[in-house]
């Protein structure tokens, strides 16, 4: 495979590599991560996305890239109507999986005696694990409102504030969602899962701000050393999974009808502006709104846990929301290509929006700075708050990495790591662990992931996001 380095941390596979490529494929890496990318099928999957009809510029993979199904995880692909397509596989099954970061006014030192109680309270207040529904069973009409209004639905019920919405990508609601495009199957999967975490790699983590890298930005973000912050990582649960399943299935036929020759059936797609494309986009937005609402309800529950545990001790328990971002989504956005502003359908699958200063989509508080970019690391390691840059707008359709990126399969991780031993090791490092399943814990062992600090070094070095603060975990809650 011909791979050439075109800038520090940036590699390109030229269009000439394969006859069906419409644009070059680029990926961010250092030598070691480039070698890791060659070791699995992520580059082949990236090249496959360069064959999609209407793809523009270049397809991209972030340094946390790894093999997925269809698109690689860490992939960013932009297409332009009218030829441009939307591909449900380019969003993934967990539609609007994302991260929300809440930050407190209290320090780790102040809460250290209460961390055990806090971890237990969070585990009991935030339902998690396989088959765990929540106590919010939604009627059909209420579910429609969730899908139409997103996090606004939760705030209207008193489960959050207008500031939370202001500090959420898209204000916590994608306009144009159509619950009528969501199947009965998807509805029944979503009905009792509102306000639940699920299983797999989803988590709630209580962190401490270990290091500030950019003092001025950190101050503007409201971050300070030793501060307590909380990350929520989850998505649209079974409702989103079913929306994607339905669409991938339906588009198998549509892709044939449009005469597309695709290298992988998971890449099925339809023109964004076709009836099939519009129907998927409207259903995807409904699922994305469900995810925004889900993280909003979880944030409310977390705030309740903090109040119950810290309030009686006289410790300030309030948590404000720094930001909430999606990392599995497709959105219509305007970007400049070859000197011209063009409306594109930007797929981010395991990649985060990282808009730089001046983007009109950003809330007033961040518009002159760029948006907060939240990068959770693997369990028990560090996580990062970064800021989006003008360079990201030029290079990556305003995108950056979304996490550490898997290195070992879940199967391998479970073979190599015992859940009980891992829990012991984490606890010996002062990290409280509450997990529904020890086997699930083992699958998410830090050894199964790349080093998130290295991933962040690359995006920082390439200029597509800049370091603001490093977080380290104090308590992990998992399904």
């Amino acid at each position: 495979m011909e791979i050439r380095q075109i800038a520090p941390f940036l590699f390109e596979i030229p269009r000439s590599h394969r006859a069906d490529m419409r644009v070059p494929a680029r990926f961010y890496a250092d030598e070691a991560l480039a070698a890791a990318a060659r070791a699995d099928r992520s580059l082949e999957q990236l090249i496959n996305t360069a064959t999609l009809p209407g793809v523009v510029g270049h397809v991209l993979a972030m340094p946390d890239m790894h093999q997925g199904y269809g698109f690689p995880i860490g992939g960013v692909v932009a297409t332009e109507p009218p030829e441009g397509v939307i591909s449900p596989g380019g969003v993934g099954y967990d539609i609007n999986c994302g991260v929300r970061l809440l930050a407190g006014r209290m320090t780790a030192r102040e809460v250290s005696d209460h961390l055990e109680a806090l971890a237990s309270a969070l585990f009991s207040d935030c339902p998690s694990g396989v088959g765990r529904g929540g106590d919010l069973r939604l009627s059909g009409a209420e579910l429609d409102r969730v899908m139409g209004e997103g996090a606004r639905w939760a705030v209207r019920r008193g489960l959050g504030s207008a500031e939370d919405l202001e500090h959420t990508e898209e204000g916590g609601c994608l306009e144009g969602a159509d619950p009528g495009e969501v199947s009965d199957r998807a509805r029944s999967r979503g009905r009792d899962q509102m306000g639940t975490l699920g299983a797999g790699n989803h988590f709630i983590e209580v962190d401490r701000v270990e290091r500030i890298e950019d003092e001025a930005l950190a101050r503007r973000f409201g971050l300070f050393p030793d501060q307590i912050v909380v990350q929520i990582h989850c998505g649209s649960r079974g409702l989103g999974h079913q929306v994607c399943t339905d669409a991938v299935n339906r588009l198998q036929q549509a892709a044939r009808a449009y005469g597309y020759r695709l290298p992988d059936r998971e890449l099925v797609c339809a023109p964004v502006e076709s009836p099939e494309g519009r129907a998927y986009l409207a259903a995807m937005k409904a699922a994305a709104n469900y995810a925004f609402a889900n993280r909003q309800v979880l944030a409310h529950r977390i705030r309740g846990s903090f109040e119950r545990v810290l309030g009686p001790a006289g410790i300030p328990f309030q948590l404000f929301q720094l930001y909430d971002i999606a990392h599995n989504i497709a959105k219509m956005e305007t970007h400049e290509i070859e000197g011209r502003r063009r409306t594109l359908c930007v797929h981010r699958k395991g990649a985060t929006r990282a808009f730089g200063p001046g983007a009109p989509e950003l809330p007033a508080a961040f518009r002159d700075l760029g948006q907060p970019v939240l990068v959770p690391g693997s369990m028990g390691t560090s996580s990062w708050v970064l800021v989006g840059t003008a360079e990201a707008m030029r290079q990556t359709f305003g995108s950056s990495c979304h996490g550490a990126g898997r290195m070992l399969s879940r199967h391998q991780a479970k073979r190599n790591v015992q859940g009980a031993g891992l829990r012991r090791a984490l606890e010996e490092n002062g990290i409280r662990v509450r997990a529904g399943s020890l086997a699930g814990l083992a699958e998410e062992a830090p050894a199964a992931y790349k080093d998130v600090d290295r991933v962040v070094d690359i995006v920082h070095g390439a200029g597509i996001a800049r370091r603001v603060a490093r977080l380290v975990p104090l308590a992990v809650i998992k399904g």
Partner: protein, 143 residues
């Protein structure tokens, strides 16, 4: 029947996939492949039935554009019952089976435990192959 002196390959086995879980599934007929795929997914789910659980039946009718789509729909249907009803199936009776349509009754029980959730069954590089009288497919699951 497997040839004498040579053991038959397993009905299903897990193979490594970086992001998710993948199974190689085999069968001497398409119908057997579908049964074995269901068993394999039960293993992935870590399905353990309630020992004295009441036996339950569900009817499954599916149509698809080709055998691969039918396989994805089949497993998606079973994953749906696992998630929404905590129901796993131990036996199936096929009333109708063709490469693009099936009607089946699944006999199952509520789970005492489901260790994992299957978010979705993917089409990633999915192709049902027939070689030497044996069908096989590699199925990638999003978990």
């Amino acid at each position: 029947m497997s040839p004498p002196g040579r053991s038959r390959p397993p009905a299903f086995e897990e193979v490594d996939h970086t992001a998710d879980r993948a199974l190689v599934v085999r069968g001497r007929s398409l119908e057997e492949l579908f049964r074995n795929a269901a068993c394999g997914m039960n293993r992935l789910l870590g399905f353990r039935p309630e020992p004295r659980g009441e036996r339950q039946t569900r009817r499954i009718d599916l149509e698809a554009i080709d055998p691969e789509s039918l396989l994805v729909s089949w497993l998606s249907e079973l994953a749906y019952f696992a998630e929404t009803e905590s129901l796993g199936f131990e036996r199936f009776e096929f009333e109708r089976f063709s490469p693009t349509a099936l009607s089946a009754v699944g006999f199952g029980r509520k789970a005492a435990e489901m260790e994992k959730a299957v978010k979705a069954v993917t089409y990633h590089n999915l192709a049902i192959r027939r070689e030497g009288g044996q069908y096989s497919a590699t199925i990638v699951f999003d978990v």
